[in-house]
């Protein structure tokens, strides 16, 4: 059906072009004139680009990377307030101490224009002894929030949220382990594994792709792709399921096939992250490789 429609439209396009023939004669002067016009028309763009480049280079050289972070380790009345980088919208994170049966309610809220509390995200924690720490990491117009606590057996757990002005994505829900804040990334240590997962911090907020769970779990040279990847519009790509890959070359081939990443090159199986450009969206896919 669609095939026929496309073929019909191709015939139609041919007809349109036939009906409005325009002879193109090659004239060398056209080339020169166009080039000169182009340079002249965009002269200010060239000048401004040069200035911008100088400014960016200046900032890059003089500004230490760590100044982009704001850390906040304090909890006041079980609430932490935080802002988007332009401070337009105030959000706050809150957890309610023990409700019953060792359960705690945690949530991220904001106040709307009428001052009413609106819910962005809530989760009920079970088997929790206490929540004792929150880390807030701000980068551009998005944030990470790490909530730490201990369970009834005094084993540390964490919950890791990715948060931008529109949405909250829980990357890890109440997971036994720890999150370390490194200079350019978060290192997630899992209690049940000696491996760690790297989450780069400098993700462009509007281009984010986040997996519901670690995307790849494997063993030595055998990797199964188990989970879905959430896309920017909250849909998810369900192509990533149960695929066995035996070596780096096959992994490259597979990922190229799935994501159409023509220039993707993984150099070894120990890489934990991939920078991808998927359907013109830049982002990262996170990997957990056992």
């Amino acid at each position: 059906m669609i095939d026929k429609k496309l073929k019909d439209s191709a015939k139609f396009l041919d007809k349109v072009i036939e009906l409005s023939p325009k002879e193109l004669k090659f004239d060398k002067s056209v080339k020169k004139r166009k080039t000169l016009n182009f340079v002249y028309n965009y002269r200010w763009a060239y000048i401004l680009s040069a200035f911008s480049l100088l400014i960016v280079l200046g900032l890059f050289i003089t500004k230490p990377y760590t100044t982009d972070f704001i850390r906040n380790d304090t909890i006041d009345n079980n609430t932490i307030n935080f802002y988007t980088s332009n401070e337009q919208q105030k959000y706050y994170f809150k957890y309610e101490p023990l409700l019953q049966d060792n359960k705690q309610l945690v949530g991220i809220f904001y106040k709307d224009e009428a001052g009413q509390k609106q819910v962005m995200y809530t989760e009920l924690f079970e088997n929790v002894k206490r929540v004792n720490d929150i880390d807030q990491i701000i980068y551009d117009d998005y944030q990470y929030l790490i909530l730490r606590g201990t369970d009834q057996e005094n084993i540390p757990f964490f919950t890791l949220f990715y948060f931008n002005k529109d949405n909250v994505y829980p990357i890890y829900r109440k997971t036994l382990g720890e999150v370390l804040i490194e200079k350019k990334y978060l290192r997630v240590l899992h209690n049940d594994s000696s491996e760690s997962t790297i989450i780069p911090i400098d993700i462009r907020a509007n281009d984010i792709m986040l997996p519901d769970d670690p995307v790849i779990i494997g063993n030595n040279h055998h990797i199964s792709i188990l989970s879905n990847v959430y896309l920017e519009d909250n849909s998810f790509d369900s192509n990533l399921n149960n695929y066995i890959i035996r070596n780096v070359s096959e992994l490259n081939q597979y990922l190229n096939y799935i994501y159409e990443l023509d220039d993707l090159e993984l150099t070894n199986m120990d890489n934990f992250q991939l920078n991808v450009n998927y359907e013109d969206r830049k982002g990262h896919i996170f990997f957990k490789i056992k």
């Binding site: 059906m1 669609i2 095939d3 429609k5 496309l6 073929k7 019909d8 439209s9 191709a10 139609f12 396009l13 041919d14 007809k15 349109v16 072009i17 009906l19 409005s20 325009k22 193109l24 004669k25 090659f26 060398k28 056209v30 080339k31 166009k34 190229n256 096939y257 159409e260 023509d262 359907e279 013109d280």
Partner: protein, 178 residues
């Protein structure tokens, strides 16, 4: 069809004459790519002209590793990509149908014509990677192998993109039909 590759190899034509041969051979095809890529007829004519200037400038550096048409189509696709990224393109309001304007005085407006215009417009609105394979496959009638060479991707990728593009188009046209 003129074997442009052989012309380049055996020619005693000047570059100016050679480019004229290419224009006669490929101008319509290049214009087809540009129209369906950008959705604007007059811009497509400008793009086509620029493409042949590029072809002329690069005649000597063309190493004949690929066919001439693959080379010219690749230049066209790259030029369209650059144009789409340009500030000028973002300013252009394309809400009016390009072909519709052309056809008002040139043909009867039947339901069939409107449907075909609609299909082309939906192709224009596809994501770039999907749009390119659809245009080359249906409008320029290249094989998947030739498309793979033109876009420098694997043939299997071309087939995947074609399938995804068809699915997406079908969905879009269904939504419009409601």
């Amino acid at each position: 069809m003129v074997d442009a590759g052989k012309i380049i190899e055996n020619t005693c034509l000047s570059d100016e004459d050679l480019i004229q041969v290419f224009i006669e051979e490929y101008y319509k095809e290049v214009k087809k790519i540009a129209i369906s890529y950008l959705g604007d007829y007059s811009t497509a004519e400008d793009i086509a002209q620029d493409v042949f200037i590029k072809v002329y400038n690069n005649l000597k550096s063309f190493k004949r590793k690929s066919d001439v048409f693959t080379w010219i189509y690749r230049i066209t696709i790259n030029h369209c990509r650059d144009y789409v990224k340009s500030a000028h393109f973002r300013k252009v309001d394309l809400t009016e149908s390009f072909i519709m304007n052309r056809m008002v005085t040139q043909s009867d407006f039947t339901e069939e014509v409107i449907e075909r215009i609609n299909t082309i417009e939906k192709v224009t609105e596809l994501p770039v990677k999907l749009k390119e394979v659809i245009i080359l496959y249906y409008y320029n009638q290249l094989t998947t192998k030739e498309i793979a060479k033109t876009l420098r991707i694997r043939e299997s990728t071309v087939r995947t993109r074609l399938t995804r593009a068809r699915q997406l188009l079908e969905t879009q046209l269904k939504i419009d039909g409601r």
